[in-house]
Symmetry: C2
Subunit: 336 residues, 2 copies
Amino acid sequence: MSQSITIKDIAKLLGLSKSTVSRALKDHPDISPETKRAVKEIAEKLHYKPNHVAISLRHRKSRMIGLLVPNISYFFFPSVIEGIEEIVHEHGYQLMILQSNESYEREVNSIDTMLANNVEGILASVSRKTEDFSHFKNVIDRDIPIVFFDRVPEEIKADMVLVDDIRGTYDGVKHLLDTGRKQIAICIGHPNLLISKNRLKGYKMALNEVGLEVEEKYIISGQSIDDVERATHQLLNQENPPDGIFAISDLTMTGIMRAIYANRLRIPEDIAVIGFCEEPFSTMYNPPLSTIQPMGFEIGKMATEVLFTRIQAEHGFMMTPEIHNITSKMVIRGST
Amino acid sequence: MSQSITIKDIAKLLGLSKSTVSRALKDHPDISPETKRAVKEIAEKLHYKPNHVAISLRHRKSRMIGLLVPNISYFFFPSVIEGIEEIVHEHGYQLMILQSNESYEREVNSIDTMLANNVEGILASVSRKTEDFSHFKNVIDRDIPIVFFDRVPEEIKADMVLVDDIRGTYDGVKHLLDTGRKQIAICIGHPNLLISKNRLKGYKMALNEVGLEVEEKYIISGQSIDDVERATHQLLNQENPPDGIFAISDLTMTGIMRAIYANRLRIPEDIAVIGFCEEPFSTMYNPPLSTIQPMGFEIGKMATEVLFTRIQAEHGFMMTPEIHNITSKMVIRGST
DNA sequence: ACCGGTTTCGCAACCGGTTGCGGTTGATAA
DNA sequence: TTATCAACCGCAACCGGTTGCGAAACCGGT
């Protein structure tokens, strides 16, 4: 039984044609009830499983959704994926997950394999290194729906689902101000990224609202935990160190926390900390961190729902792309 | 250009047959150099990309490896996946990642879609809920190589790649003893799991070696962070509380740490902590945790290498299954 | 002119399903 | 008796490549 059994096998056993078996299996009205029964019975007995590859080839569609993520190593993307899978499976589709690992080549490659595998739609979060977006244009030209989330290309016309960074940062910084902090620092990622810009915007909004000016010395950035740790050290050891820090991600938060611990500062007495962090990351610290939850699950769900409306829309009748902002939830814990 | 272009398109444009084009593209010696040049040139110009689905159907193989994991939400599996991807891509294959989410139905389902998609091999870590393993037997009967890792079924004859739990736990507990601890507790997962049994074994080995007896009250277990947190509370508040705890995973560690913090105990002064934990999890705490690193990356690599030797072996000529133990690395930090 | 051997290419079947269309059968109506 | 029609099923093409085999065209040698 090393070979999987096919429709032809069933047909031969029953003295029928392939077409009849195929139709019987899917309750086509042309087939008599007895024939259907016989076919289904033997199919059941032999554990017949249709070959998706053949179906995909014939129909030019695969019931598969391609997912491109930079990585799955931290909290955010896995939770997004959970949201995606919920909707994908609801529709009876399968998910094909590809990691770019922040590499442009692998990103292009991944898109190629998705197309070569006839995915019916693509969800994508782009790599940090990507600056040429023609592989995505390619997808759009082929009329394959694509929805970007979180890390989106700026120059592509497509649906986007984003965390509301401006609002989230504004909320977090405002909360720090509300608890009496005056010198609030922020740690951002790569300054070119849209998310960094937006978060800075929210930061400025909150400060300006209470008449504070943005000071350059309170803005640090870093690409890795170690980067951030070093930057935070400098930040804490300058004159007039901050009494509150807003971290932009789980990674920056880790670097910041390490530096704070190393400097023997107390949280929240000496310095308050809040930032964009996922569960269960934020509850592991001492004290548990107040956070702006990015709601990865909701982002995944929303992105996938948008994708399916595109898939189900008549081809050619494309609505204009939309941008969805998912507002984050602020959770106050011991660190502020 | 909404339709992707095929071999037939190229053939028509050049007045050739499909077969000639196909052969030209793969440098078949039967084709003249000029024809090859012409074909390749126009293929390049039109951005021709072969349709993997068609190739897969024809060859009955897909150059895809299926990966079944319970989840991708924590540190261990993502790092395993990194190792897997390294080897998979080295071989020019693609990885199809499916999550069971600890659900038996979804596990069976995932195996089905892998088979239906003609994967050439499967890497699997089974769900906690799985007790019937016939879906895996099915795979083996079909002569499709499968390698289990980390969470393995006991009653299936197949290659396995495991963390050396006995050795790892032994090392960790021994280290606690070496630093002068006398009452050492351990927190395990579900008692039925092989890993729990093995880790208990290592725990006992280390204790017995220095003439200590295993006491039931020092063995706790839990399925979730909250479970563990509660159990640790009880553990710490009984008479003769432990002065060292060995945690069996990132999850149990989180519960334990929360309970320790809540009880205002100092680490490592009052209680030392060590356990199986992944980077960067263990460095986030205060103090950074000593850990037994499970080496997910190595496990992934090893499992995939074994899988490819099976794939490349002549079918039928199956070697007997092997069990590989990956020894963990002990990293001493501030918590012990 | 004829033959054997290359070189170069096309025909057609095939992978495993799907589907338009046409054919056969039997029953019913005219 | 014959036309009509529904019920039921098979033929064959198709999706996009791959490949065994045969054939045409050309070569130099006799």
